[in-house]
């Protein structure tokens, strides 16, 4: 068994790995059968996690809407395969059994159990085989109770969720859990730093959140997350991720949103405040406190469905008080900060052909021990992501009653800054642009 003593640097690496490599890929045809609706009713582009107004309402309603009281098959499956090319060979193979460039792989195969029990209980649970790591683990979990109620004369959709990642419950595609890009590969080079909310604790925690959408205009959510026992996580193929929460960690969310039929918008704020033992290491008797505070916004023009435009924006400020990591020798500073901004704009033609452009920029305090892979000891990375994709089915229920769909996509990521600098970022002559990545992917759902 590997040692559970983890340095701050290793913790940062673990955080980075989860932050940038984990894909939020999501496609659940069982819900199509349950609702009698094609993929395009819930998903922009008839595929994946980008939600329409109806998709958001279905999620807030606890995944309970169904066309009939009869039995519907709760099982779904999903697979993603890809070919990855980087501008220059990577310094070492990104994973055992692969080369330093031009890798083809099955990224993941997932099974979902999804559905509703009655008018109020519903959810989904995802189990994934990681084709690169060659291991099984639990993946996204969201089990809900929801009800439509009236509070002081105001209609409210209210519910509770048991889930395993902060932000997983969110109805919009601005936060990291469901944000662009909606699929990625562990074989692609990626920056080593991200915020704790950006997947740092995904599938390493359990939480209960209470949410309410007031008069379809004000969305509020409060959640508390804790770290299950190490044995529990290991049994599910997971680990502590960036760290184990010392008690419970609060997650807070509020958003103002409005739907006008052919267009809608959302403006919100969010916060996640975990106090962590880095890598689960309690030996210092102290911990690291992260404070992620952010704002987000989205706009969608859905029109009559023949042309759908969307914009998503997120800015996160993270304050890190690294008392434990500092004592463990993993951070030179006691306090650091990190800033992260993501902006993406997409267009989908008839829910069939789509194009998305995303801009990302991460910057923060320099720290010689926390960012040893950077010649300037900085976390800064920035660039632009492009994606074009085509989705073959999902606009009606004709193919296997709406239970089968395929998306083909091409991604290209351009790095203007990588791990601290544009040129010679590692002190060994590597430039940010060496990591520019072309990825061709096939994504199927059944």
């Amino acid at each position: 068994m590997a040692s559970r003593r983890t340095s701050g640097g290793t913790a940062a690496l673990a955080l980075a790995a989860t932050a940038f490599f984990v894909s939020p890929a999501h496609a659940v045809p069982a819900f199509a059968e349950q609702t009698g609706q094609p993929c395009s009713s819930c998903h922009v582009g008839a595929f994946g996690p980008q939600l329409t107004p109806f998709g958001r309402a279905f999620k807030e309603g606890g995944y309970t809407m169904r066309t009939s009281d009869g039995f519907t098959n709760p099982l779904s499956a999903m697979a993603i395969a890809s070919f990855v090319n980087s501008a220059k060979d990577q310094g070492a193979p990104p994973a055992p059994h692969y080369g330093v460039n031009n890798n083809a792989t099955i990224d993941q195969v997932s099974v979902f159990v999804a559905g509703s029990i009655d008018d109020h209980f519903g959810g989904f649970s995802q189990f994934t085989y990681d084709g690169v790591g060659r291991s099984f683990s639990w993946d996204n979990l969201d089990l809900r109770y929801a009800d439509n109620v009236t509070v002081f004369g105001t209609p409210v959709v209210a519910g509770l969720s048991l889930n395993n990642a902060p932000g997983l419950t969110d109805p919009w595609n601005t936060l990291p859990a469901w944000g662009f890009p909606y699929t990625g590969s562990d074989l692609a080079p990626a920056p080593t730093t991200g915020t704790i909310l950006d997947g740092g604790l995904a599938q390493s925690v359990l939480g209960v959140s209470g949410y309410a959408d007031w008069d379809s205009e004000i969305y509020t959510e409060v959640a508390l997350y804790f770290t299950p026992g190490h044995g529990f996580l290991r049994a599910l193929g997971s680990d502590f991720g960036a760290g184990s929460i010392t008690g419970v960690a609060p997650y807070l969310r509020a958003a103002w949103h409005k739907d006008y039929g052919d267009q809608n918008f959302e403006i919100g704020v969010f916060a996640f405040l975990p106090d962590l033992y880095p890598g689960g290491d309690t030996s210092t008797g102290t911990s690291d406190l992260y404070s992620d505070l952010g704002i987000d916004g989205s706009y969608q023009y859905t029109g009559d469905g023949s042309a759908i435009y969307g914009v998503n924006l997120r800015y996160t400020y993270e304050h890190q008080h690294l008392a434990a990591t500092n004592l463990l020798g993993g951070a030179a500073n006691l306090s650091n900060s990190l800033n992260d901004i993501h902006l993406d704009a997409s267009y989908y033609w008839h829910n069939e052909i789509g194009g998305t452009v995303g801009f990302f920029n991460t910057w923060g305090t320099g720290d010689a021990l926390l960012y040893p892979g950077s010649a300037v000891f900085k976390p800064d990375s920035s660039g632009i992501s492009f994606q074009v994709d085509g989705t073959i089915f999902g606009r009606d229920m004709d193919t296997l009653d709406g239970r089968f769909n395929i998306r083909l996509g091409l991604q290209y990521i351009v790095y203007t800054k990588f791990d601290g600098a544009t040129t010679n970022y590692d002190g060994l002559g590597a430039n940010a642009s060496d990591n520019n990545t072309l990825r061709l992917f096939v994504w199927t759902a059944l």
């Binding site: 609702t35 009698g36 609706q37 009713s41 107004p53 109806f54 958001r56 309402a57 279905f58 807030e60 309603g61 606890g62 309970t64 809407m65 066309t67 008018d119 109020h120 929801a146 009800d147 439509n148 109620v149 009236t150 509070v151 002081f152 209609p155 409210v156 959709v157 209210a158 209470g210 309410a212 379809s216 409060v222 508390l224 008690g247 419970v248 609060p250 739907d259 006008y260 039929g261 052919d262 809608n264 405040l273 106090d275 210092t284 008797g285 102290t286 911990s287 406190l289 859905t302 469905g305 008080h321 008392a323 004592l327």
Partner: protein, 92 residues
């Protein structure tokens, strides 16, 4: 080094959490007493892009989700039999 070095000024993190939890519970009780149970989940008419007029030969009274005389399984509010929305599913 003290574990809560960062929380010794003013209100500690633990106190803040405790206060937030108590406040949240209090608010939940208050809301619960004011709540009136309603029906299963539905979407707003705007989210479904509902219109009170048909779209071609597609009308609400020909949709599998329509519940006579004037409601819908998925869409909230009063629904016209001759209306239409984006969730239209032809009645079998």
């Amino acid at each position: 080094m003290a574990k809560t070095e960062y929380s010794t000024e003013g209100v500690s993190r633990r106190q803040l959490l405790r206060g937030a939890t108590v406040t949240a519970c209090g608010a939940a009780v208050l809301v619960a007493t004011a709540m009136q149970p309603a029906e299963a989940a539905t979407v707003t008419q705007a989210a479904a892009a509902y219109q009170p007029t048909p779209k071609g030969d597609q009308r609400c009274d020909g949709c599998a989700l329509f519940m006579a005389p004037s409601s819908c399984k998925f869409v909230a509010g009063t629904i016209s039999p001759s209306g239409w929305c984006r969730l239209y599913v032809k009645k079998a």
